[in-house]
């Protein structure tokens, strides 16, 4: 008996792997139809897909799918998601997916001509399942040995004989290939929903805020609540929007004031957030004061970054310290600019100027590798000159060739000979720790067959 169902078509938009704006694209597709499903690519399978199901008599029109496909492709272009690998339509998600995956390459518009590999799409269309995929991959050569190389060969096999040879998944696929006979075998549609945005708002209609301090007081509470919610999701704030609604008045040019703030370093605590907001507002409102009192304030989180974890560890100060550090660094970056603040990370190399590298402040602190065997760390200057300064040695004096500054030397310790990296630069230097009469300690090196010494750093 054939079950009567509402006519429908499913469009499959296939991407290689998972593009960055995959979620946004899926959200945008909700404008076309409420019935969206996604197959993420970040859990395996090598591709991702968005499914759009359309129902109703309109789907019976021959142009219907073509127009929808064109629209979806244009949407992908506009959103700069990247060109889909394929865009196909079918009676259901499995058919659309298998045509997208195999039909485009083989030029077939009918599932029956597709290779047997397409059977997997009838087993798990909406997600990648490692075990089932592996099992099926092992079965493909067996099918081919039997001469079953296409779907049309497969459907000729009696379903009743499949279970005892290939297992229940293949039987299910066989039944789904005849979905008009067995509609109950169709997989459940996993509806896609937009993820709720984290935002907190407070209204002060009865007591609008007149000054920055009172505003900041409110923002502190809003920040706290927003960060707590992010905390619960194991996230930090990376970008936010502050929206202030001013008291209504026809004379006000801008009743809504908003700021989109990209945090220089993602923050997990309200403190870090608040300092940034304070500085930003102080600066901006200094140039463009609010035209009226504030009657509502809202903080919306636009972008997040992975955080410490969903539960705070109350027995360890590490998180607090990390958050305080993030707040400090965030403030420095805000003030000095991203290019002017970095963290110095040790690099395992002998060449002194290459023995460290600047890394972004938010990068986790790298452990300094333990020295092999007994070797403790050697003493190194706190300040290393970007470019060594040539020095002339005259008796007990060292004279800079650039600044002409003179140091009277009271002690030479060394040499420490550092050579190597012949595969790149090849250097040979004899380093000395030079103590001066004035109590300074310099790091100076000489190079064979060169008359001058080079000042490389200061032991502050």
């Amino acid at each position: 008996m054939v079950a009567f169902t509402t006519p429908k078509r499913v469009i499959c938009v296939l991407f290689p792997n998972q593009p960055p704006q995959f979620q946004e694209f899926a959200e945008a597709c909700l404008r076309l139809t409420p019935k969206i499903a996604v197959r993420p690519g970040n859990r395996g399978g090598g591709f991702s897909a968005v499914f759009l199901e359309f129902q109703g008599r309109a789907t019976l029109s021959p142009d219907f799918a073509r127009k929808k496909i064109a629209f979806v492709q244009a949407l992908a272009r506009r959103m700069k998601v990247g060109a889909p690998a394929a865009c196909t339509e079918g009676a259901h998600a499995m058919e659309a997916l298998s045509l997208a995956r195999f039909g485009e390459h083989t030029g077939h518009a009918s599932v029956s001509k597709l290779p047997i590999d397409a059977l997997l799409d009838y087993i798990t269309p909406f997600e990648y399942e490692e075990e089932i995929s592996k099992k099926f991959r092992d079965q493909i050569p067996v099918f081919k040995m039997l001469g079953v190389s296409k779907i049309q060969d497969f459907v000729r096999l009696p379903t009743s004989l499949l279970a005892s040879r290939f297992g229940e998944e293949v039987v299910l696929a066989s039944q789904r290939l005849s979905a008009w006979v067995f509609p109950e075998t169709l997989p459940v549609w996993p509806y896609f929903h937009i993820q709720e945005q984290v935002a907190e708002k407070e209204d002060f209609y009865f007591e609008p805020l007149e000054n920055l301090d009172s505003l900041l007081f409110i923002l502190k509470h809003l920040s706290n609540r927003v960060m707590a919610r992010l905390r619960g999701r194991g996230l930090k704030a990376a970008e936010l929007e502050l929206v202030l609604e001013l008291e209504g008045n026809s004379q006000i040019g801008r009743p809504i004031r908003n700021w989109k703030i990209q945090l220089p370093i993602a923050q997990g605590s309200y403190l870090g957030l608040l300092t940034v907001l304070r500085e930003r507002l102080s600066y901006d409102l200094g140039y463009q004061p609010l035209e009226a009192a504030v009657r509502s304030a809202e903080i919306r989180i636009l972008e997040t970054a992975p955080g410490h974890g969903m539960q705070r560890n109350f027995f360890s100060r590490k998180e607090e310290e990390a958050e305080a550090w993030d707040a400090l660094v965030g403030r420095l970056l805000q003030k000095l600019g991203k290019k002017n603040a970095y963290r110095a990370q040790p690099v395992d190399r002998h060449l002194p100027e290459k023995a460290w590298k600047p890394v972004a402040p938010e990068a986790p602190a790298a452990l300094v590798a333990a020295s092999p065997g007994l070797r403790p760390l050697l003493e190194r200057p706190l300040r290393l000159l970007r470019k060594p300064e040539p020095m002339q040695r005259l008796g007990d004096y060292l004279i800079s060739q650039l600044s002409k500054k003179r140091w009277k030397v009271s002690n030479w310790q060394g040499p420490e000979r550092i050579t190597g990296e012949w595969w790149w630069k090849n250097f040979k230097r004899d380093y000395y720790q030079v103590t001066t009469d004035a109590g300074e300690k310099l790091w100076v090196f000489s190079v064979p067959e060169q008359p001058l010494y080079q000042l490389h750093g200061y032991f502050d």
Binding site: M145, L146, S164, L374, E416, I418, W423, W424
Partner: protein, 1002 residues
Amino acid sequence: MQYAELLCKTSYSFLRGSSHPQQYIERAAELGISALAIGDRNGVYGLPKAFRASLKNPGLKLISGAELVIFEPDFRVTLLAQNRAGYGSLCRILSLAHEAPIEGPPREAEEIGVRWEQFLQFADSKDSADWIALVSPESLERGTETEQIWGRLKDLFQDRIYSPLFQLLDGMDARRTETALALEKRFGILSIASNDVHYHDESKQALHDVMTAIRHQTTLEEIGKRVFSNSERYLKSPPEMARLFGDLPGTLKNAMSRTLEIAERCTFKLNELRYTYPSEWIPAGETSEAYLSRLVKEGSQKRYPQGVPEAVRKQLDHELRLIHELNFQDYFLTIWEIVEFARSKDILCQGRGSAANSAVCYCLGITAIDPIKMDLLFERFISAERGEPPDIDVDFEHERREEVIQHIYEKYGRDRASLAATHICYRGRLARREVNKVFGLDPETRPETNPLVDQMVEELRNNPRHLSIHPGGFTLSAQPINEIVPIQRGRMDKRTIIQWDKEDLDILGLLKVDILALGMLTALHKALKLVGKYELYTVPHDDPATYAMIQRSDTVGVFQIESRAQISMLPRLLPKNFYDLVVEIAIVRPGPIQGGMVHPYLRRRRGLEPIDLPHPKLESILAKTMGVPIFQEQVMKIAMSLGGFTPGESDELRRAIGAWRSSGDIHRMGKKLIEGLLKSGLSMEFAQRIYQQIQGFAEYGFPESHSASFALLAYASSYLKCHHPAEFTCSLVNSQPLGFYSNHTLLDDARRHGVAILPIHPNISEWDCTIEDGAIRLGWRCVHGLSEAHAQEMIQKRNTQPFQSLSDFMWRAPIRKDVLQRAAMAGIFECFGFDQRHALWRVLEHQLIQSSKDEAQPELFPQLEAYEAIQQDYNCFGASTRGHPMQALREKLKRRIPQISNIEIKSQPGGRWIKIAGMIIVRQHPQTAKGTVFATLEDQTGFLDLILSKETVEKFWEVFTENAFFIVQGVTQRDGDAFSVSVRHLAPIGIEEVRAPSRDFK
């Protein structure tokens, strides 16, 4: 001020030192260092080579030592042997360090060492009384135990423990000095000056860095501080060391002179190792000389039942006299005993190499060639002047060699019998790959892209990489071997190896017995058993049909003359008798080719040029090879009879020939030879031609005796192929892997000789292939993935009750799932009424639900096409009984591929443009060919030789190497009966290919 360097790591610390032992010795002598201690990690691998170099530098004292790794706590101690007893106990503790559990995997390099308790046990006994111990504070990790360890070491070693002090200009020297003073104060442990040497010269630091990166499996970019911070760890001169150590405080000033005191106490020399051959099994009341003479006499009577000829008796007396003089009689008796054991167990064996020059070996039954009849040169084997031990290699059936090896272990004990090592060194391609990786390049990056990389590849070449087991070289000793050299477990099960290789044993005069494996002996034994008429040496000689077959190049499967190069030579050389075979085997080698001997020989054989013998004495030496020297012995004889060389000098010439690439001796000896030849009245042109020809030998020329030994086996296998092709092929398949060709080629060749091949049958086939009414019934051993244990279990069940049905088979036969599926698709179950696909369909059902009955199946699947069926056969057992894949392909593809066969093409004259299709089964790229590649194309009618020029190879490289079936276009070439095609164009046929293994570039 003088000093001795007591801490040196050579390249035999395996990627921890970057200079060879001989480089150290030579450099130390140059610098005026008075003594040098070699202390490689956990071994004495490099000592013999250091010793040999030290003989040329008598002013330098070599001290034997090793660095031992200790675990828990972790540190390292260098132990120096003061005397013979100290050296023996050093070897024993090093053996202990390498001991791995008998069950379980061998230990990785980082796990080699002894535990602290084990070390204490040793050190607490008299075993350590003759050691000097050097422990660097840097090797001991800081911790509370450090004090206890120093204290304990001082208790154990008293005045024989020192702490090496380094001044390496790496910023740590001041700290080192403080620590040294503290050690002296606290424990009374004195310091000695050392430079912690890892290379002989500063310039080797770069190679050391590369080796460190290889060892850590990282790149130079990533190696960081794991390389030394400077290049100071080289062998420094006494004045340099004096500058570094001269200003040290307190008693540290004497750190240099203490090294001399230690050197004075270490008196052991490696040549003190007196080697005694095991001989406890000589019959009571007889000496080994008398016993050997008796055995030789008895053997000669068996070999010459008509009476021992006078020439033979004279030769035997001469050889026995020399053997006794050089004290080698026990060695010969040992070999004889091993061969007798093999014979008692019906294991075929035969001596090879220069031993076949010896009449004593022939009479003892070790070799099979009569050297008198063949006029072979005994001095090639042993000479009094050389004074070195002889080298007797014996081949055994490869499947039964293990029995011989276990016999040796049982008879002598594992402490007195051990396999020699092979020091695997970096060679061309491997060196390139490793250096490429270290530089962050693709391992396959071709050379000439980066001069720095190329330089490092050159430097890395010939440095030891790791130890491997010599295939069958045993060293035996009357006393425990681990008193002479440390023993360690090999990667193979039940194997122990010594740390020295063959060259090291020669340096120290230790004897070695080579127990080798030869697949053809196994095959011959099986074939002879199947035929049931002959033994190996009673196969009828000089059979005309056999030589006719050989001349036709119909030699697939035949020992030594089945390769592509041999097959192409046979119709040119046309062997008609045994000696022709001896020449054939020797001549197709790089030596004679490079020496320019091949073409003159062939031309003279064909009468195209006269045989040139410019001196009457050359008649007896060169007449049998048309006036062209082909064998090493001929060169030696020329040197002796015309060059004025003594037998020993002529052997030295032979060895110089073998080593000429790495030594200058060949030029000195060559000059002497030319002078001698000129004095004998020969022309300069002839003398220089001889010199040029012998240079071509290098290490690739064969001794005549060796070639003759192999010719015996070549003839026997040819005879069996000619007269008993079914038994011969059956035995070859049953003895795989061996030879040049895969099973499918051997079986197709047998089929072309009229032998029927019967498929695998569940109720008939055994593990091995068998003969069934003159046909070959394939055995279960051919099935991919089926183990012998499972097959034998199945056969046992079958023998109790034959399989009644496919279900019955599946229930009772313990066969892996994938093997069963392949077997089904290969039609093995046709006897139960299932074609391939329906058999698979049934198998699948059984595998999932273990159904017990073969119920009637609907016809669901079409029959396999002929080509598909052959494909599935190859997938299952690497061959097909249905026919050749090319035959099926021609039927399937019809006009899309050329239909002309190989046999038809071979009737074409030379110079014709042809187009042909076939399956490539061999690809070869000989070193002497200058980029030319040779290949063999096969179809159902036989083989065709293809020649691809360097340009063609480059043009079609990917196509050539990634496919099996081709359409070939090219030009025919004919030289008498020798035929080949010079390829101009190659295209794949473009069809899913059979799983047919080809022999590629081997």
